[in-house]
Symmetry: C2
């Protein structure tokens, strides 16, 4: 059959031999290489990868996904020299990708872009003291600043569960998630990523025993609310001052005083302690009235397009 | 000075010669290796890394951060064989870490754990039609399902800005962020990470011209709300049915009918289209009354601890 064996035969180039790297197609015309069946030797991997990429180009495949376990770290430089770039990583693997459609925009989704933090507002049974900690390391070490228990969500963890876990881990106190008070969206945090921080109201189950975590926490106590909420470090920040006002709104004694709303509104506020601003999303507007806001809709707050506010708008009278 | 030159001298082991890898300490007793000044040759890098790790162990350093640019992919296997693991990655680098305090729990923060999606509810000037698209690839390709414009936030992008960008990119329509209607937190999404999805209400600036993105969008139109909200695919999902109810609440014709609240409440709802549930966070409770909820506080919704609800609770009457 001379036609099919000819090197210029269109048949042989349209239907190349199956590529040696095991893979599955994805619904976006892409290829997911099977990490379980990669050749262990980096030289053999290099050869198979080159052949596979040539075949996938002919098939008009677009994005190629290559997950390399830590045990095959030797394959990372091979993939990089074949045109792969990093996508995301977990402790035991790095994902690399290769966009084959030269000249067309890469439509591969980005890897995870955010870390998610949680903070917990927990009052004692009497409602007069707040559960607060002083941190053993990090920027607040040795400053004497009292803060709410906070921490980062694990992958797969719900916001309420994360807040309950952090309170338990840092202070030994059992408390149950009730609702969210507000959340803050900011950028250029750890590793240059973005950060969402959810402030949750938790109900204490037993306020009798404090067991601070010896690794993370220097001190832990039920601190009088008036003392906690008047810490100069936080009042100097328009963002924190607003958060603290929202916390006041959430206190039992202020129940019913906040003006309720039917949407989650956004306000952009200066950080204060460093340059820049962040969006704070919240429902209650009571704090705003108290501090001389211009009233509904007039200053953009109602529109979710609130201009950056200086510290003046949130100073306590 | 024979004492200081003796190999058993405590002075020489307590104060080792400065490690050859340039670095800065961090406030958590860790070390950040300077990626700009790494030796280019992987063998020299291997030698310097070994010496540096020995010195940092003596100094009781805890977490070591090593950022390797794609151009130094050859150093990845070297670091892996010295005990480093992956932490996170961006297109042009992979971050690797090494926890030196053997036997003590690693307190290094996790890398980014979440992707963040945005969806946009945009009505035309008359308020009777919703801006909707049909996707060109992915699971909904060819199904004829109309959906709101959605997309993933870029690193550093605000939620409102992301929603405005996605609407513009997918449909050509200019619209401005007003507020958030609700958000959903779910797990085991892309790459096994968690996912936050924010549904934003946008106000259209000009509804005259539709210019669907040729790469992503198969169709794009102003779809009558009644048609859009009655799509069986979404009504079969308790989660989506609840989201659609919240969208109805947000319509101009329903203004003032939703029962306002002063906190962001959470409800756990079945996905319906696949096994599992997700938390939906919202403010309005009107949808709940409409569908035979047990009333304020009685079913745990008010407490933010709403039990998983079956489809029955959210079927339309």
């Amino acid at each position: 059959m001379p036609a099919s064996s000819s090197p210029s035969s269109p048949t042989s180039s349209s239907f190349p031999s199956p590529p040696p790297l095991h893979h599955t197609p994805d619904p976006y015309d892409g290829i997911i290489i099977d990490p379980q069946q990669l050749p262990k030797d980096p030289c053999i991997f290099a050869q198979h990868l080159t052949e596979s990429l040539a075949a996938w180009r002919l098939q008009h495949r677009r994005g190629i996904w290559l997950k390399l376990p830590l045990t095959l770290a030797s394959h990372v430089p091979v993939a990089a020299s074949s045109g792969f770039v990093f996508h995301h990583a977990e402790q035991d693997y790095v994902m690399m990708t290769h966009w084959l459609e030269e000249g067309k925009p890469c439509t591969l989704p980005p890897g995870p872009t955010h870390q998610v933090g949680v903070g917990a507002l927990v009052l004692d049974k009497g409602g007069k003291n707040i559960l607060a900690v002083q941190e053993k390391s990090g920027p607040l070490r040795g400053t004497g600043v009292w803060k709410m228990p906070t921490g980062l969500l694990d992958v797969g963890e719900d916001i309420g569960a994360g807040a309950e876990r952090e309170v338990k881990e840092e202070t030994g106190v059992s408390a149950r998630f009730k609702h969210l008070i507000a959340f803050r969206h900011a950028h250029a945090f750890a590793f240059g990523k973005s950060d969402l921080f959810f402030l949750a109201r938790l109900e204490v189950e037993d306020d009798s025993s404090l067991q601070p975590c010896p690794h993370e926490i220097a001190a832990c106590d039920w601190v009088p609310l008036s003392l906690f909420l008047s810490q100069p470090r936080f009042l100097a920040s328009p963002l924190y001052a607003c958060v603290y006002d929202l916390c006041r709104d959430a206190l039992p004694e202020n129940e019913g005083k906040a003006r309720p709303v039917t949407a989650i509104m956004g306000t952009q506020l200066e950080l204060g302690f460093k340059p820049g601003a962040a969006w704070l999303y919240h429902t209650s507007e009571w704090h705003h009235e108290k501090h001389g806001g211009k009233g509904e809709g007039e200053d953009g707050l109602e529109e979710g397009k609130g201009a950056k506010k200086g510290a003046g708008n949130h100073e306590r009278g």
